[in-house]
Symmetry: C2
DNA sequence: ACAAATGTCAAACGGATGTTTCAAATCTAT
DNA sequence: ATAGATTTGAAACATCCGTTTGACATTTGT
C-alpha cells in the first residue's frame, strides 16, 4: 500500500503553517491524496474513507491533522489555488515590458498551466467543482489569492485601454480575456468532443494563447488608440 | 463507478394519458423539483428526500415513476439541456440578417438566459456540475444538443472571418466567444465577489452582451476584411 | 532513562442516504 | 357498483457517511 510515494520531487511547501512542520509524512500524504480525490468527485461527493485509503492513512488521521473534512479541503483548495499556475501568472504580470507584452505573457502562462509541466490538472478540476457548488472556503480563497492577481490584470488592461482599472469597460474586457482561457480549463471535455483535433499539446496551447492575445488586443488597441486622441468622450467610471 | 444507463425502466402511465392534463402529476412535479435541487447541489450531493420534499411527493415516488435516483437525473438532464435557452439561441441563429447581427443575437440570447427574471438557471448550473464531474450522459447530450448549435455558430463566425467553418481560426474564434459568456454562467459567484457592482440585472446583462459582441467583432472584422482583399483563399482546414 | 507529548490504529457511534416493502388509497373499465 | 390495475403512503431496511473514542505506539524534552 506504500507504492504511492510523492511523485513530485519537491517538498511540500510549508506555507504559513504555524505548527512546527518539518516533516509530517501522513499530513502531506493526506493533502496529496485529497487533492486527487476532491478533484475527481468534488467536496461533498468525496469521502474521507477514500482519501485515507488513497493516502494509506487511518481514518482518524483526517480529524487529527485537520479539524475535520472541511479543514482538509480548505488546505487543499488553498494549496491548489496558490500553486504553480498563479505563481507563473504573477511572474508574468510583474515582468518588465509594455502592457501588451505583459498581457500576452500572462495569457500564455495561464493557458500553459493546463497541461504544461506539472502534476495533473487537480487545480482546474477543484476550481470547477467550487464554481458548480461553492463551499464556504471559496470566498476566502478569492480574497487571498485571486483578487491581487485580478487587480494587477485590471491595471494592465486599463493601461492598454487608457482607462482606469475600476472602469466598467476595463472590468468587462478583463472578464472577456479571463473567460477565453478559462473555457479551456473548465469545459475541456466538451471542447475536445466538439473538436477532436484539439489535443492539448504544448504547441497547440501556445497557438491557443497567441490566438487569445491577438483576439483580445484587437479590441483593446481599438479602444485605447481611439481614446488617446483627445476626442470628447466621457469617462464615467462607476465601479 | 458511474454506470449511467439511459434505458428507461420506469413505469409509464398508460398510453394516451400523457397529454397536458394541467393538473399535478407527481411525475412532472418531481422533474421540476429535481431540476432545482440537482442544479444547486449536483447529482451526488442531492438527496431524493430533499427532492421529494420540494416536490411535495412521497419518498417512494422517485423509485416508482423513475427507476431510481439516476433515472430521475437522466430525465432532468435531458429535459434541462434540450429546453429553455438553447431554443432561444437556435432561434437567434436561424433568424434573417447579416452574420454580425445573428452573432449579436445569439450572444444576447445566451447572456440573457443567465437570470433575466424568469425561470431559474437550471441549465447552466447542471452543466457546470457535469463539467466538473462528467458522466457518460454528458457525451450523448453534447452530440444531440450542443453540436448542432455549435456547428451553426462555426458557420456564422466563419462567414464573418471569410474562412470555412472547419478552419482552425474559425474554431478558435468561436471558442473565444463562447468562453466569454460562459464565464458569467460558470463563475458567477467569483465574478460577483471580485466586482461587487456586478448585479445580474436584465439591463446589465444587455450591457455585457453588447460588450462581448463588440469585443469579439473587433477581431472578426479585422481578419475578415483583411482576407477579403487578397482573393486567394488557402483552405487549409485541418480539423 | 523516563515521563509527557505526539501520532497512529481499530472499532464503534449517531445520523443520513438510496432503496424496498406492503398496506391503503385512488383511478379505470366493465 | 365491483373487481382489477395504478398510484400513494409511512415505515423499515441495509449501507455508507463524518466523527469520536480510547488503547497503543512513537517521538521528544529533560
Amino acid at each position: 500500500m506504500f507504492e504511492m510515494q510523492l511523485a513530485d520531487g519537491s517538498r511540500q511547501m510549508s506555507g504559513r503553517d504555524t505548527e512546527p512542520n518539518g516533516s509530517d509524512p501522513t499530513r502531506a500524504k493526506l493533502i496529496e491524496a485529497a487533492g486527487r480525490v476532491f478533484a475527481q468527485h468534488g467536496y461533498r461527493a468525496s469521502t474521507v474513507r477514500e482519501i485515507c485509503q488513497v493516502a494509506g492513512a487511518n481514518i482518524a488521521a483526517v480529524n487529527y491533522h485537520f479539524r475535520d473534512k472541511l479543514g482538509l479541503y480548505s488546505e487543499v483548495l488553498r494549496q491548489s489555488v496558490f500553486a504553480a499556475q498563479l505563481d507563473r501568472a504573477r511572474a508574468a504580470l510583474d515582468q518588465n515590458g509594455t502592457p501588451e507584452e505583459r498581457l500576452r505573457a500572462v495569457i500564455r502562462a495561464r493557458v500553459q498551466s493546463l497541461h504544461g509541466s506539472e502534476l495533473p490538472d487537480h487545480h482546474s478540476r477543484i476550481v470547477a467543482h467550487e464554481l458548480a457548488a461553492p463551499t464556504p472556503a471559496l470566498s476566502q480563497v478569492i480574497d487571498e489569492a485571486l483578487r491581487p492577481l485580478h487587480n494587477r490584470m485590471l491595471q494592465i488592461v486599463g493601461s492598454i485601454l487608457n482607462l482606469p482599472p475600476e472602469h466598467r469597460k476595463t472590468r468587462l474586457c478583463t472578464y472577456s480575456i479571463i473567460g477565453q482561457f478559462h473555457l479551456y480549463a473548465l469545459a475541456q471535455p466538451v471542447l475536445v468532443q466538439l473538436w477532436p483535433g484539439l489535443k492539448m499539446t504544448s504547441r497547440q496551447l501556445d497557438e491557443i494563447a497567441d490566438h487569445i492575445a491577438d483576439f483580445s488586443l484587437a479590441y483593446l488597441r481599438e479602444i485605447g488608440s481611439r481614446r488617446q486622441k483627445p476626442r470628447r468622450r466621457r469617462v464615467k467610471a462607476r465601479t
